[in-house]
Symmetry: C2
Subunit: 583 residues, 2 copies
C-alpha cells in the first residue's frame, strides 16, 4: 500500500487506518447513510443557525467543511458532526454579550468563537487533557441539557407567535414574550402550531402507522426522519402561494447561493479575550456530548474511540467551521444515532453528507426564500423537548443528595441566569461538595468479626474489641483538607477513655498521605507519647508505605506498623493462644 | 454568681467561662505578661503600620480596642492579637490597588478592609465555616510565609538605605531599589545597619550572654525582648541630638497624641467590591496563622480552643479595629509565644496590654517624633527573616511531588506577582492536584496471600490467583471524575483475557459511589453481560451498601455482593474443601 509510509501518523490520522480497508460495500453503506443524514441535516442546520442568532446559510456552511475535517481526524465510525442545539444556544449567549444580533460583528464573533473552540480542543487533544471533561459529572450534564432544552424551546416561541422577544435565560425570555404578546401574527401562529403538531405526530405516531400499513421498518424509519423536510416543503409552498410574507409571516429570505466563503477569523485581542472563556465552556460541553454518543455507538459494534483523538477531530472541525463561514459545531446526538442506524460504517459517511449539504447550498437555497421561520422553530422545539428529562432529579434525590444539589443548582441557575453561569456553577458545586465530603471523612471504630480475620464497624456488626486497644478506620485518603479533622477526632476520642494504651489507625482505605497529613500524624504521635499512648498503623498500602519509609516518621513512631489489622490486634492484645491458631 | 443568667451565651462569650473563675493570682500573671507584651508591641505596631503604608499611629490604634474585643470573644488563653507582618503586607497590596500611599483615601480603604475582614470572619464563624481554612495546606502556608518574609524584608530595604522605592512583588521592589541606589542617605544607612546588626545580636547572642553572667532566665528573656525598645530609644536620641532629620534621615514625625478616634468605615460600593476578595484572603490567612499558634500553645497546657469561636473573636477584633482607626489584625506568632512564656493565663492579659498601648498613645507619642524609620525597618527585617524557611521545599520534594509543586508555585508566584496571586495559586494548585490524582486512582489487581485471608497486589506480593477470576481493587472512592477511568481500565483489562468468567471489584477502599460512578458501574455490568462475564462486588462498606440498596443496581447485577473478598473467591472458585477450613 502507498499508505504504509504514513503509518507513524496513524495516531493523529485515523483515516489512514480505515481508509486502507475501504471497499465498495462500505462505500454503498456510507452513501445510503449520508443521504438520510443529509435530508435530516438541511432543516436542522438552518434552524440551529436561527437559534444561534445567525443567518441561515451559516448553518449550512457549518455542515460542510467541518464534516470533512472530522472524517479525516475523528475516530468514531458513526458520529455526525454539525450545528447542534445546545452549542447553538451557547453561541448565542456568548456572542450576544459582544454584538447585536443581525450585525456583521455578531457573525464575525461567531466565527472567532468557532476558531477559539477549535484551538481549545486541539490544545486539549495534543496535551491529552480529555480527562478534564470528567469533572463534568453525569447529573450536572443531565441537568444542564434539560434546562438548555427548556430555554431553547422557550426562545423559539417568538417565531411560532410571530413576535419579537429576546433573552438568554428563562426569566428574560418569558418576560419579553409576555410584553409582546399583543403583537401575535395569526398566520405565523397557524403555521407554527400546525408544523409543531405535525412534527410531534411524525415523531410519535407516523412510524407505528407505517409499520401497521405494511411498510418495511427501514423505509418507515427514513420516512419518519423526513418529517421536517416535508414540513419545510409544505409550509414554504403554502407561504409562497398565499403571499403570507406580505401578511407578516417572517421568512428566511434570501440565502446566498453557492459554496461557503473562505473566512479568516478576526484577530482582535478584546474579542478573543472576552470569548475565550465561552469557547472553553463550549468545547468541553461539545466534547462531552460528542464523546458520550460516540462511545455508546462504538460499544454496540465492539469498536472503541480514542477520546484524546476525538478532541483533535472536533478541534479540526471547528477550525474548518471558522475558515468556511460557519460557527461552533460538535457531534449531534439524534443525528449520529440516525447515521448509525442507517448503516454508516466509516467517517467517510460524514464526508458524503458534506457533499449533500454542499449540493443543497449550491442548488436549493433559492427555494428556501419563502420558508417560514416558524417552521424552523417548530423543528427545533420538537427536537429539544426530547432532551428535557427531569428524572435525574428523582434519581439523585434517592441516591445521593450531593448530586441532587449539584443538578438542582445547575437547572435553576441555567434557567434563571443562562447557560454559562448554570453549567459553571454545577461543575463548581460538584467539585466543592466532593471536596467538602472528603474533608470530613467517614471514620469508623472497628472490631474483629468473631471466627474471621475481618474487622468491621462496631456500630454495624457484632464484633470483639479490647479495652486497651482502639482501632480507627478512616475511610478516605489523608490530605490537607481532612488532616486537622482526623486530629480533632482522635483527641476527642482518646481523652474519654482512661484504659486505652494502643491506638491503631487501620489504613485499608487510605490511598495517600500528603505532607500536611503526615505532619498531622506526627503531631498526633507526639501528643500520644505525652499521654502515654502508642500509635500503630495497620494495612498500610504499598505505595503509601513506600512514601512513608522515605521520612523519619516510621522511626519516630511510638508504635509499630502491621501488615494486617488481625496481626496488630493479636500482637498488642498479647493473645498468643489465639495467634497459635492458623488462619 | 450574677453571671449564671448569661450561661446560654457562653458559647459566643467565652469571657463568661474564664471570667467567673478569675482571681488575684491570675490577675498578677496576666498583668506581668501584659507589661512584657506591651514593651514588645509598641515598636512592632509602629513598624507594621509603616509596612502597611499607613501612618504610625494606626498601628497603635490597631493594638488597643481589637485586643479588648478578642479578650471578650476569643477562646485562646495566650493569643496576642494586633498588627502582624504578613497581614500588613497583604493590606498594603490590597489597598495599594485603590489609592496612593499617604493619602486619606489609602487610610480610609485600610479601615474598610478591616471592617470587611471582620465581617467575613464573623460570617464564617456564625455559619461554622472554619473548615474552609483546611483547604490551605501546610506546605502552601509554609511557602507563602517564607515568600512573604522575603518580600517584607526587601520592602524595608528602602528605609534602611534612605531611598524611595515601591512594589508589591520582588521583581518590582528590586528594580525600584536599584533604580534609586544613587540616592542612598549615609546617616540613614548608618542607623539602619547598626540597628539591624544590634537586633540580630540581641536575638541570637544577648540571652546566652546574660545567662552566662548569672542573670536569671526569666529576666534574661525579658531583657532580650526589650531589644527593639532599646533600639528605638537610642536611635531616636541619636537622631535628635545630631539633628539628623535635617540631614535627610526619614523620621516618624508628628504622631497625634491621644486615644483612637471613632471611625465609621466608608460605605462605597466600589471600594467594598474591590476589597472584598482581599478581605477574604486576609481573613483566611490571618485565621490559619492565628489558630495554628493558638492550638500549639493550648496543647501545651492541655487546653482546647474552638476554631469556629476563634473566627468570631478575630472577627470582633477586626470590627473593633475598623471603628477605632486601625487596620486588619490577627494573632501574632512571636508575640503570642512571648505572652504565653511570660505567664499569661487568660485573655484578660490582652486587655491589660491594650491599656498599656493606650497609655503609650496618650503619653509617649510626642517622644516618637525623631524616631528614624530605619529603626522600625530594622525591627521588621529581623522579625520576618526568622519566618523565612526553605526547608519545606526539601521535605516535600522527597515526600510528595504534588505538595512540592504547590509550595514551589506559591513561593515563585508570591515573589514574582505578589501575595494575593501567590497564595490563591497555591490553594488552587493543591486542590487541582488532589482532584487530578483522585481522578486517576491507583488500581491494583489482587490475589490471596497464601495461608491467610488477605488479598494483596499481585505485583508486590506472592499471591494465589485463579485464571477465571479477576479481582480489581480500586484505591479511591468512585465519583464523577474517575468513573470513566475505571470503565476504560476494566474494558482494556478484560478484552485481553479469554479465560475470564468473573470480575470482582474489591471495594475496601471505596468510601463513596456517586451517581456518575453508579451509572458507570451499570454500564460496566451491561457490557460484561454481553461478553458473558459476571461482575461481583466484595468488601462493600456499610454506608456505601446502604446507598446502593436504594437503587436497582444490586437487583440487576450479573454477579453477587460478598461481605469479604475471601468468601468471594472461595465461592466463585468452587473451593468447598478450602472453605471447610475455619478461618
Amino acid at each position: 500500500m502507498r499508505l504504509t509510509a504514513l503509518k507513524p501518523f496513524a495516531r493523529y490520522l485515523p483515516i489512514l487506518d480505515w481508509g486502507s480497508r475501504y471497499n465498495k460495500d462500505t462505500l454503498t453503506n456510507d452513501v445510503v447513510a449520508a443521504v438520510i443524514v443529509t435530508i435530516m441535516l438541511i432543516p436542522q442546520s438552518l434552524a440551529y443557525a436561527l437559534l444561534a442568532g445567525l443567518p441561515a446559510e451559516m448553518g449550512l456552511y457549518a455542515s460542510i467543511l467541518p464534516l470533512v475535517a472530522y472524517a479525516v481526524f475523528g475516530t468514531s465510525r458513526a458520529l455526525a458532526v454539525g450545528p447542534v442545539a445546545v452549542v447553538s444556544l451557547m453561541t448565542a449567549a456568548a456572542v450576544g454579550n459582544l454584538a447585536l444580533q443581525g450585525t456583521a460583528e455578531y457573525a464575525a464573533a461567531a466565527i472567532v468563537l468557532a476558531f477559539l473552540s477549535g484551538l481549545v480542543l486541539l490544545v486539549m487533544g495534543v496535551f491529552r487533557l480529555g480527562f478534564l471533561a470528567n469533572f463534568l459529572s453525569h447529573p450536572v450534564i443531565a441537568g444542564f441539557i434539560t434546562a438548555s432544552g427548556i430555554i431553547i424551546a422557550t426562545s423559539q416561541l417568538k417565531h411560532i407567535l410571530g413576535i419579537k422577544a429576546s433573552g438568554h435565560n428563562l426569566t428574560e425570555l418569558l418576560h419579553s414574550i409576555f410584553a409582546h404578546l399583543g403583537e401575535v401574527n395569526f398566520w405565523t401562529l397557524f403555521i407554527g402550531v400546525t408544523a409543531t403538531a405535525f412534527l410531534f405526530w411524525v415523531r410519535k405516531g407516523l412510524k407505528p402507522l407505517l409499520l401497521k400499513k405494511g411498510v418495511k421498518p427501514r423505509l418507515a424509519d427514513i420516512l419518519a426522519k423526513a418529517g421536517p423536510v416535508a414540513a419545510v416543503v409544505v409550509t414554504t409552498l403554502f407561504t409562497w402561494a398565499l403571499g403570507l410574507a406580505d401578511k407578516g409571516v417572517a421568512i428566511v429570505g434570501e440565502v446566498p447561493q453557492g459554496l461557503p466563503p473562505l473566512t479568516i477569523p478576526d484577530f482582535d485581542m478584546d474579542v478573543w479575550s472576552s470569548l475565550l472563556g465561552s469557547a472553553g465552556l463550549i468545547s468541553i460541553i461539545g466534547f462531552v456530548e460528542s464523546v458520550s454518543v460516540a462511545q455508546t455507538l462504538a460499544a454496540k459494534k465492539r469498536q472503541r474511540i480514542t477520546p484524546d483523538q476525538e478532541l483533535i477531530g472536533l478541534g479540526a472541525s471547528n477550525i474548518a467551521a471558522s475558515i468556511s463561514g460557519g460557527y461552533p459545531v460538535t457531534g449531534g446526538f439524534a443525528r449520529s444515532v440516525v447515521n448509525f442506524d442507517a448503516g454508516a460504517e466509516t467517517p467517510a459517511a460524514g464526508a458524503f453528507t458534506a457533499i449533500g449539504i454542499a449540493l443543497a447550498a449550491l442548488a436549493l437555497t433559492p427555494l428556501l426564500f419563502f420558508l417560514p421561520k416558524a417552521t424552523l422553530a417548530a423543528t427545533i422545539i420538537v427536537a429539544v423537548l426530547s432532551l428535557v428529562d427531569f428524572s435525574i432529579l428523582k434519581t439523585t434525590w434517592t441516591y445521593n443528595k450531593a448530586d441532587f444539589a449539584a443538578v438542582a443548582a445547575t437547572i435553576l441557575l441555567t434557567l434563571g441566569f443562562g447557560v454559562e453561569l448554570g453549567v459553571s456553577a454545577g461543575v463548581a458545586l460538584s467539585i466543592g461538595l466532593y471536596l467538602f465530603r472528603s474533608s470530613r471523612p467517614h471514620i469508623a471504630e472497628v472490631g474483629l468479626v468473631p471466627g474471621t480475620e475481618h474487622f468491621r464497624n462496631i456500630n454495624r456488626h457484632k464484633v470483639e474489641t479490647h479495652p486497651e486497644i482502639l482501632t480507627i478506620r478512616v475511610d478516605e485518603s489523608l490530605y490537607f483538607a481532612n488532616a486537622r479533622y482526623l486530629e480533632d477526632y482522635l483527641y476527642d476520642r482518646v481523652v474519654r477513655d482512661r484504659d486505652l494504651k494502643h491506638v491503631i489507625l487501620m489504613c485499608s482505605a487510605v490511598n495517600d498521605i500528603d505532607t500536611s497529613a503526615l505532619e498531622s500524624l506526627e503531631a498526633i504521635d507526639h501528643r500520644f507519647r505525652d499521654m502515654g499512648l502508642k500509635l500503630h498503623l495497620s494495612e498500610v498500602k504499598g505505595p503509601v508505605m513506600d512514601k512513608l519509609s522515605r521520612t523519619h516518621f516510621l522511626h519516630e513512631l511510638t508504635g509499630k506498623v502491621f501488615l494486617s489489622q488481625y496481626e496488630a490486634v493479636r500482637d498488642l492484645s498479647g493473645g498468643a493462644d489465639r495467634a497459635g491458631k492458623p488462619a
